[in-house]
Structures are given as C-alpha cells and as structure tokens.
C-alpha cells in the first residue's frame, strides 16, 4: 500500500492540506501526517518514497498516483532549497510525525538529555557556552552566560521559561518547532532545567497559535517519563504583542498585566515569582539537544564572526519561495532574497526587505551584500531579530510602512513608559502630517498672548521630518524595552532610504562599490 506523507503544520492546513490528505486516503493510500519541510510555496506537499509533489489540490491525487503529475518536484532531499541548508534545529522537519515518540527516539531524540545527565550540570553549561549559542529571540545574548548566572543564583526554586510568544510578522520558526518537533523543545527545556537546577518549566505560547498549543500539550503528556522529575506546563497568552518581551512575559505568567519591568534586577536573578529564571526563546532551547548530542564545538564550527551555529531564517511576505531556510550565519541578504527566495511573488523588482519583524529596519537592495550576522546588521542600523524577512515589491509605500510601525507600537504599547506610550501616538500624527504635506499650524493654546515662547509660524515639511527624527531618538534611548526602543528602526530606515516617499528629495545615487 502506498504511504503518503503530508504535513499537518498550520501553514499546510491553511492551504487545504486536510482535503488533499482525505483525497489520498479515499484513493486507498495510507496517509501519515508529518511536520513540514518548510517549502511553504509548495504546500500542500505530498511525499511518496522520498519524491515530492506540490502544491496539490484534491483533483491532482489521481495524476500523482499514476505517476503523471506535472507537480512532481523530484527527490525532496535533493531539492535546491533543501540541499543548500544546514539543518540542525530543523533536522527532523518533514521527516517525523510530530507526536510519535518512536520517530523522535529513532532520529536521535533524547540523546542530548541523556548526555547532559551523564555530564552533570556544570559540564552541560560548559557545552552550551562552547557552542557560542546566542539567544535566538532577537537580543542575541549568550545562552551559556545566562544559564551560568541562574545556576549560581541562590535559592531552592528556579524556573525555565520558554518564550513562545512569537508575535513578529514574518516569523513562524517557533510555531514550526512547536507543531512539528515538540519533543525537541521539551528536551531542550529539560536539559536547561538539569543544568541550572530548575524543576519547573513554563512554555508561554500566544493564543494565536491554537495548533501549537494542542501539539505541545499532547507532547508534554507523552514526554513525562522521559523528562521526570522536570515538569513542563503550557501557558497561553492573551493577544498582547508586548508579552514577547521577557519581563512583560513574566508578569503575564504571574497573572498580571503584561507590563514591562525595569531591569535590573535581571530575570536570571529575580524572574518568575521573584525566583531565578532562565527565559529563552523557542529556537534557543530547541538548539540545545543538538548541541549536547553532538558537542558544543561541532555547533561552533558553523557560523560567522561572533554569531555561531545556524539560524532558521524565515522567508515571508511578497516572496516567490517562502518558507523556512536554516543555514549557518554569514549568508548574505541578497542570496536569501534573490537566489533562495527567488525574488518577489508578483515578479516585480524588490523595493524593500524588512528584517527582524515589526521592530526591524527596512533594507533597500543596496544592502543585499550584508552577511546574516548580529554585528553586521547592527552596524548597518538594523537588526536580525528573530530572523524573519518580509519582502516588499516596488508598489510598497514606505511612508505608509513607517506610519504602520508607529501605529503598531501605539496599539501594542504596555503603557508603562512615556516615550513608547505617547511617543508612538505623536509619531503617527507626525507622519500623517508629513504624508499630507500639511505642515502644522499653531493651535489655540499656542496662539494665546501669554504663550510668549510658543511658536506661531507653521512648521515646514523639513522641520516636521527633523522633529520625527528627534522623536525617534527619544523613543530609542528613553524606552524601557525593545517595543518603544526599536520602533524607530523601521521608521528611520524608511526615512533614510526612501525620502521621496516622505516628500523629500530623493537621495543621490551612491557610487557603486
């Protein structure tokens, strides 16, 4: 009997994978629901004996089984999109059934936890430190140092908190781990718990990911005998973007408003319920089982500069070949967008690529030489964040995108600090005036005779732009967390690279390098 493997990842489900699976079952095939290979433009994709077919519709099933389908893509593992990758975290993607303990164990599962237990806590942390693994949530803080801090903190109760509040647009790698390989995340948390002496772990998942929540809960129930005495519990967010910020997430876990806390104290010393807490992103914890199983040195061999190992990069937006591409740091932005991503889905030229979600900078094609590396992007006034790429074609209006960044910040601000709470709203108003080229006339209060120092003349476009830059500076340096602090990245990058969209003179063409 023919075995057909079809993903049950949410991206596949959104493309009607269930209907295709039902059609194969009706044709007498055995259908296995596996994780997604990450080639999302081919979803729903079916795999039969290693051969791939996609994107399928139920009507295509007969042709696929007859061997006459025009949607055959050949051997999946040899597809250029897959062959170019270095898959550490996503080694099982497409190959295993997410909730099968047998599949997990047969593909090297639990080996990392077993070795960690043999090594003992100190040597486990040493492996993570050697690997050079940095926090994959965006800040890039070395995981080994964070773990050491928590391990050395005094107290009998410590926590592992997995930040699965993946709210950035263009990011779905966390979701794919949780839906496709949940045991790996649970194993990573158990290793972290073993290393720092924590007995309890929480996974804080956003409520927009119902499929991930269901898979995790089922996986945790199955994994209990493997991770005991360590315990893991899923907690569900409630639609607040800011809860992806670690201190706000901790408040939310405690049952409070998701307001950001001032640091210090660091969560590593006073985190959840005031106890020492490791807060790591899904991808950070998911990288740990591989590191323990294969050694930190093997992980550190891959990478670029101070960014070691691999990064699961997410290609999204107006891109021809959208999906998940895991590769060592150092690949250039241009390779990702043009070669791997195949350019835009609409076929028009690329105008901008936003890297790192709603708080990341917009990069023009002139930045395509940038290597994917924390430091290189920081030097170019950007960030890699959670490694999501949103591609825009030439129809994008960059002043509208800048306005969206401010309005998003206004909608999602927790309200704790003034630059973010009020600055974002003033930013929207300011960009609206710039877009309308309306200038600003003095208001009623400003024209009162006693307001000697208030300006009476309307503000010009250039003055409004200067004011916007000034506001961005205040937000960048005055906000408590990255929401207010990084919103200036998309705004200022749009202003710098596409001033013509703001009614300013276009920049002179820079000399070719």
């Amino acid at each position: 009997m023919t075995v057909v493997r079809i993903s049950d990842d949410a991206a596949a489900l959104a493309c009607e994978a269930n209907a295709v699976a039902a059609a194969f079952a009706k044709a007498g095939c055995t259908v296995e629901r596996v994780s997604s290979w990450g080639m999302h433009w081919l979803e729903p994709m079916a795999e039969i004996d290693g051969q791939g077919f996609g994107p399928l519709e139920p009507e295509d099933v007969a042709a696929v089984l007859a061997g006459t389908s025009a949607k055959a893509i050949g051997v999946i593992a040899e597809h250029p999109f897959i062959a170019r990758q270095q898959r550490f975290t996503f080694a099982r993607a497409g190959k295993t059934r997410p909730l099968s303990l047998d599949d997990y164990a047969a593909t090297g599962g639990w080996a990392g936890l077993k070795r960690a237990r043999e090594l003992g806590p100190e040597a486990t942390i040493a492996e993570v430190t050697t690997s050079g693994l940095r926090g994959r949530g965006g800040a890039g803080f070395p995981a080994g140092i964070k773990w050491t801090t928590v391990a050395k903190a005094a107290g009998p109760i410590k926590y592992i908190v997995c930040n699965a509040d993946e709210g950035d647009s263009a990011t779905f790698a966390d979701r794919m781990v949780m839906e496709g390989d949940p045991f790996m995340l649970i194993e990573g948390m158990a290793i972290a718990g073993h290393a720092v002496g924590a007995g309890m772990g929480y996974i804080y998942v956003r409520s927009e990911y119902p499929h991930a929540i269901a898979k995790l809960q089922a996986a945790i129930a199955l994994a209990v005998p493997h991770i005991a005495p360590f315990e893991v519990e899923v907690r569900v967010g409630a639609g607040a973007y800011v809860c992806g910020e670690e201190t706000s997430l901790l408040n939310s876990l405690e049952g409070k408003r998701g307001e950001v806390r001032a640091k210090p104290p660091l969560p590593a010393l006073e985190g959840l319920f005031g106890k020492p807490t490791v807060v790591n992103n899904v991808l950070t914890l998911a990288a740990v089982p591989w590191i323990l199983a294969n050694g930190g040195a093997a992980y550190a061999e891959v990478g670029f500069g101070r960014s070691r190992g691999t990064m699961p990069i997410q290609l999204a937006g107006n891109i021809k070949h959208g999906g998940l591409f895991e590769v060592g740091f150092g690949v250039t932005l241009g390779e990702l967008v043009d070669e791997i991503g195949g350019g835009t889905a609409t076929g028009r030229p690329v105008r901008a690529v936003q890297v790192g979600g709603p708080l990341g900078a917009y990069h023009p094609p002139a930045d395509f030489h940038l290597p994917f590396d924390y430091e290189a992007f920081a030097a170019a006034d950007g960030l890699i964040g959670h490694a999501g790429l949103t591609v825009f074609d030439e129809t994008a209006d960059m002043s509208a995108q800048a306005r969206f960044a401010m309005s998003f910040c206004a909608a999602e601000s927790c309200g704790k600090c003034t630059p973010c709470r009020i600055g974002s709203t003033r930013g929207v108003e300011l960009i609206d005036r710039i877009r309308a080229r309306s200038g600003r006339v003095a208001d009623k209060v400003e024209t009162l005779p006693q307001m000697h120092n208030a300006r009476k003349a309307p503000r010009t476009l250039a003055e409004d732009v200067t004011l916007l830059e000034d506001l961005c500076e205040t937000m960048k340096f005055g906000s408590l967390c990255a929401l207010g602090g990084f919103t200036p990245y998309p705004v200022l990058s749009a202003l710098r690279h596409w001033p013509e969209d703001f009614g300013m003179a276009a920049p002179e063409q820079e000399a070719a390098e």
């Binding site: 949410a10 991206a11 489900l13 959104a14 493309c15 999302h40 433009w41 979803e43 993946e166 709210g167 950035d168 647009s169 263009a170 990011t171 779905f172 966390d174 979701r175 409520s207 927009e208 990911y209 119902p210 499929h211 907690r235 569900v236 967010g237 409630a238 639609g239 607040a240 973007y241 876990l253 405690e254 049952g255 409070k256 408003r257 998701g258 319920f273 997410q314 290609l315 999204a316 937006g317 107006n318 891109i319 959208g322 999906g323 998940l324 889905a345 936003q354 979600g357 709603p358 999501g388 949103t390 591609v391 825009f392 074609d393 994008a396 995108q401 969206f404 909608a411 999602e412 927790c414």
Partner: protein, 140 residues
C-alpha cells in the same frame, strides 16, 4: 448547571495554581463568551485580589471581552507580511457584512502563505479578494 456554578467550577479547577489569573480568564471567556463584571467580582474574591486588579488584567489583553460578541468572528492578519501580499487593498474592497465580526490580528504566523485569516481554530491562507469575500459570506 447555572452560570454561577460553572464559574465556581472553573475557579475550583485552578485552585492553588501559580499565577492562575490568565488561565481562569481564558476558561471564563471560553465558557461565557466574555468576562462580565460579576465574574470579575467573583474571580477577585477567589484570588484575594481587588476588582481593580482583575479589571486591569481583563482590559489589558486583547483576547478578553467585557461584552460578548455573538456574531461569528473572522480574525484577519494585517501585519507586514500580509500587507506585502496586498491585504490592505482587500480589506478596503471587502463589502461590509453586519452579520460577521471582522477583527484584525497581528500575525497568525502564516507569513509565507498569506494573506491569512483564522475562524475559531481553522486557518485560511493564500487569500485573495474573492476568497476572502466568500469566506465572510460563508460565515454570515
């Protein structure tokens, strides 16, 4: 079982749990479709919090409603990746249907197969104006 008993059962189910407020509110929202003033009062009492503290939490998170929404809800992702795939023009052209609540979410994590929407736990990708219109019609 009355609403009163059901609320008590939810509270009893979370007794002794660390940081129980959000899980309780999720259960209350799921059971009653909203978190009423009466529910806030009883939850506050059970957790030894003030009503203001519970109200503060309910009003902070987008998921919790203070008034029930009786229409079917379509959650439409309008974040950057879906914008890059043209969601804003589709929203502008979407005929108003008073029998369906169309809400905006920032990111369903389906950024490579957008524009995307979610109804309950059911996800829909690769929407275009016609498919989005048909989806709204199917809910009405």
């Amino acid at each position: 079982m009355t609403d009163h008993d059901e609320l008590d059962a939810i509270l009893a189910g979370h007794a002794g749990r660390e940081g129980a407020l959000l899980p309780i509110l999720h259960d209350v929202q799921a059971a009653f479709g909203h978190v009423s003033e009466e529910a806030v009062r009883r939850i506050a009492q059970a957790l030894n919090l003030t009503r203001a503290e519970v109200h503060g939490v309910v009003s902070f998170y987008h998921d919790f409603r203070e008034e029930p929404e009786n229409r079917p809800v379509l959650k439409l992702c309008r974040a950057e990746s879906c914008q890059a795939r043209g969601i804003e023009a589709m929203v502008a052209a979407l005929p108003d249907n008073p029998r369906v609540a169309v809400e905006t979410v920032y990111c369903l994590g389906l950024c490579s197969v957008g524009p995307a929407a979610m109804v309950g736990h059911e996800v829909h990708g690769r929407l275009d104006a016609a498919r989005l219109g048909a989806l709204v019609e199917s809910l009405a």
